[in-house]
Subunit: 256 residues, 2 copies
């Protein structure tokens, strides 16, 4: 099979020296890649410079990206060149990217200026609508600084939503067996399964690997693989998760 794996965590620039980064180590993605490679499959591996990388071999193509925007464009380039039988999207993609950064003083000055032009702020509905309009204008119009000024006591960072990569994967490669990932923090197993199912349905995935940060300790890594029929299987280590995903993707591909 021709497999695409994304792994690691994207980062989003705040200024020239700072980023918002996602801590994902890429170790689960590496285990999944190595398990597919051991079965003789071709793997295209999209990851970040910070993440751990699978050992190089002839069946492996490695591509590095940093931001969600770069990920999106690298994926579109790949989809023009290749058709994938399986896509394992384990990369932790930033939901948000930086829109603008302001000192408290400048933010308040701009917000007060905008609100001052509004007619009736004593009405809560008017006030709320004015705040939405003002925040929108402030977020969209201000250029990003080369380096955040350090002479202010409080900074406000505006973050805006990134495109959802997972939705694009299904759209671009409808034939592929698609495995999505969902990481939550400190929820019950029931909640984890509930959220995983809703993401599976929403993004038309074949499988979702649902896991909780509090159940990940080195190689001990509890993961619940959900399929579109509502079945679940649980693995307890990164290697078990990798093997489970490889088996399920192979099986699903054979039966398509």
């Amino acid at each position: 099979m021709n497999i695409l794996i994304t792994a690691g965590g994207t980062s989003e620039k705040i200024d020239n020296v700072r980023s918002i980064t996602n801590h994902s180590t890429g170790r689960l993605g590496k285990a999944i890649a190595e398990t597919f490679l051991a079965q003789g499959h071709q793997v295209t591996y999209l990851t970040t410079p910070q993440a751990v990388h699978p050992a190089m071999e002839s069946n492996l193509t490695l591509i590095e990206i940093e931001t969600t925007k770069e990920l999106e464009s690298a994926l579109l380039t790949q989809f023009k060149q290749q058709t994938f039988d399986g896509i394992i999207h384990s990369m932790a993609v930033s939901d948000f990217t930086t829109e603008t950064t302001l000192s408290e003083d400048i933010f308040i000055e701009k917000l007060a200026d905008k609100l001052a032009t509004e007619s009736d702020l004593s009405d809560l509905t008017n006030l709320t609508e004015a705040l939405y309009r003002s925040l929108d204008e402030i977020g969209q119009t201000i250029q990003q600084a080369k380096k955040i000024p350090s002479g202010t006591d409080r900074l406000l960072l505006f973050l805006k939503k990134n495109p959802k990569i997972i939705a694009m994967l299904r759209e671009q490669q409808p034939q592929a067996v698609l495995v999505g990932f969902k990481l939550l923090v400190g929820v019950s197993t029931e909640e984890l399964i509930r959220v995983g199912r809703s993401i599976l349905a929403k993004n038309d995935c074949d499988f979702i690997l649902a896991n909780d940060l509090e159940d990940i300790h080195g190689d001990q890594h509890k993961g619940i693989l959900l399929d579109a029929k509502g079945q679940t299987e649980t693995a307890q280590t990164k290697n078990e998760i990798a093997q489970l995903i490889v088996n399920k993707v192979e099986e699903k591909w054979r039966n398509q």
Copy 2:
């Protein structure tokens, strides 16, 4: 001499899976440590897990931290145990740490509620003061989420100022030859020197290494070392900067 070096860049948690990180690689700090070690000095090296580390040897003590708060407490612990003859503070310390994270909806709801209790918002001065009070309350009272909610189009991150580590170094170790660092982005040499001098004076440093991100390309690294007498010396590579700092610190120490 007994030398303390800080190197790499601190990171500040946004939630359990995301941080604001500073990109500093720690390569200049490594070069400085290795140059001091080669001269037979004792080095305590405070860095981050992400930064490159000098090769281990018997005269080197390595300590890892991640956040500015951890850096501060690791330094205070060291200062109880050791007296340093030289301190090279090359670590890129986050000026800001996260205070709170809010979706646009919740931010606007809270801000509108607070503003609604104010008497006269048609007056710009009143409005501005009300905004300062409201932002202060919103920033300070809201607990941090375990994981940022992804179901919002815009997020607002409140960041507040971190303690200034450099000021504390001089206060705690008045006998040490103190070298501070200042990184700017895309400024003229005159501006770089002007800012460097003001930081040297403000923090009572013996030297400031002033550099510009746009003059750093791998090992090519332009650095201007300023001293308290107003003299400057320029180096063009990381190794030249390291050698210059070691020479100047040794000389200053001998003449004290």
